[in-house]
């Protein structure tokens, strides 16, 4: 299986005045080979930067960020990454189907396969009947679904998601989380989800990597005791787990402040 390995990653950002700001302070972890790994941490701690490094949009200054395949699934081709952004970042002047085609074209997937892919993944996110629609005529939740379908349609080795539910209303977000969980359980690729929402991490993450405030260090990595489809938001034991996780995060923040 293909997964992401991050070893002692260090990243600086230059400031306006010429000095440097430390963003990632020696971060190491591995994503699960199958299922969702949640990067949980306070806003602005550097989680999204790390995601951009993995996506190849930025580089680390020290350390290693690698996409590993332990049975040589990739061969010589570069790994393919699907990215779901916080804002859907759709090409508003293209129909839903052409937004997906844009990704297929970039990934050099043969044209003959496009139609089957479109049908499969638009159906998966529940937007098959909207394939001819322009994005600005869709609701925010539907646009985010298009973004998800665009990331899935290239059948990525790794799926990256950067707070994809944070701009949606509560009910839409809840439904989309459920659907994403189900889709990821079915597709089985290694998935990275960045979030600052403890409840979301407890619900979505098979593995939860807890980050400190900037400069980001990893303070704890834990595996979710509940299997994806057994996470019932109303179940007492699950609520208990959520509370524990929240307490852990709060304690970590407190320790950090005292230090």
């Amino acid at each position: 299986m293909v997964f992401v390995q991050v070893e002692r990653a260090v990243k600086f950002f230059p400031r306006e005045d010429g000095s440097y700001m430390l963003v990632l302070n020696g971060v190491s972890f591995e994503t699960k080979e199958q299922g969702i790994t949640c990067l949980l941490g306070p806003s602005g701690c550097g989680k999204s930067t790390l995601l951009n490094v993995i996506a190849g949009l930025e580089r680390v200054d020290q350390g290693r960020v690698e996409i590993v395949s332990n049975h040589n699934e990739l061969g010589t081709r570069p790994p393919q990454l699907g990215y779901v952004f916080q804002d859907p970042r759709l090409l508003n002047w293209k129909r839903v189907e052409d937004n997906l085609n844009f990704a297929l074209k970039g990934m050099a997937i043969p044209r003959a396969a496009w139609d089957d892919r479109l049908n499969k993944y638009l159906e998966m996110v529940g937007l098959l009947e909207f394939r001819k629609q322009y994005p600005l005529y869709l609701s925010g939740g539907m646009r985010q679904r298009v973004g998800l379908a665009r990331a899935l349609v290239i059948e990525p080795d790794i799926l990256l998601m950067d707070e994809p539910y944070s701009k949606l209303d509560q009910l839409t977000a809840r439904k989309l989380r459920e659907d994403t969980l189900e889709i990821c359980a079915r597709l089985k690729q290694s998935t990275l989800l960045v979030t600052h929402d403890v409840e979301e991490a407890a619900y979505m993450g098979d593995r939860i990597v807890i980050f400190s405030a900037r400069p980001a260090q990893i303070v704890e990595v834990l595996d979710n005791p509940f299997s994806p489809l057994a996470r019932d938001l109303d179940d007492v034991r699950f609520i208990q787990f959520k509370k524990q996780l929240l307490q852990t995060v709060l304690n970590l923040v407190k320790e950090k402040e005292e230090a």
């Binding site: 951009n52 996506a55 190849g56 949009l57 990454l81 990215y83 952004f85 804002d87 970042r89 090409l91 508003n92 002047w93 293209k94 844009f102 990704a103 074209k105 970039g106 990934m107 050099a108 322009y134 994005p135 600005l136 005529y137 665009r150 290239i154």
Partner: protein, 300 residues
Amino acid sequence: MSSLNNFTPTGMTQQEEVLSVRSQAESLREETEAALHGARPAAARETLKDVGLRVGSIITLVLVWWVMSLFFPPTLIPKPWETFGEVAAIVTTGHFFVEMGSTLRRVLVGFGIAMVVSIPLGILMGTLRSLESFFEPLVILGLTMPGLIWAVLMIMFFGLTETSAYAAVAVTIFPMLAISIWQGAKSIDKDLIDMSNVFHASAWSKVIDVILPQLVSHILAAIRYGLGLAWKVVVVVEMFGFSNGVGYQVVRGFNVFSMKTVLAWAITFLVVMIVIEFGFIGWLERSVTRWRPRVEAWRR
């Protein structure tokens, strides 16, 4: 559900609450229906009123012209209908189509050349810092140069050939097109560029699928300004000694001091411009912005 049933934050009794919600729903339904039925005729009335106002403004112009013609001899201000008669004569003899054809060709060729060069240059200037620094002074210099001087320079260089007309038009409007597209390219969305990098879009696909669509409104504005400027330059070039084209006809009218002829050619010219502006460019704009819902900013 049972606990929510007794939960009335407004302090009304349950029955009052139910009644109030019901009446709210009722009035909402009425409003929706009114909106659904009223929407279409209201919009139609609006366009009808628009058309009326537009026609009215032209009629007012002709009326003012007519009143002025009462106070001046016809050699200075001819009567509107006599001028329209001249227009009809020009058009029915077929004279008009030959002359206008020459002028249109010069405008379109010059305009096309300027467009083909300015779109890539504008995009490069907006996206690459070094090219921006290099070309900015040149483009600004070009913009300040009067079209008349370009026309003289081009005729001196190319002689009285079609090439000099094409070149004069292209060189005059080029800086303006380039500036417009350059400014547009500076404001393209970085997030979408990141997105297209993540999905490995080729450079060509980035230009066609991501950058150009964001420049559409800048390009349309550039087309409008550019055509307006092109007409002005081409007439000047034709006046300098071409033996056909609208500019030449105007000079001929001037030489025999026929105000009627000069005005008649000017009017035909205006009509063609308006057809291109409202017909072709309007159609172009509608067809490339179909993806965008109409914004009604001031509707209450």
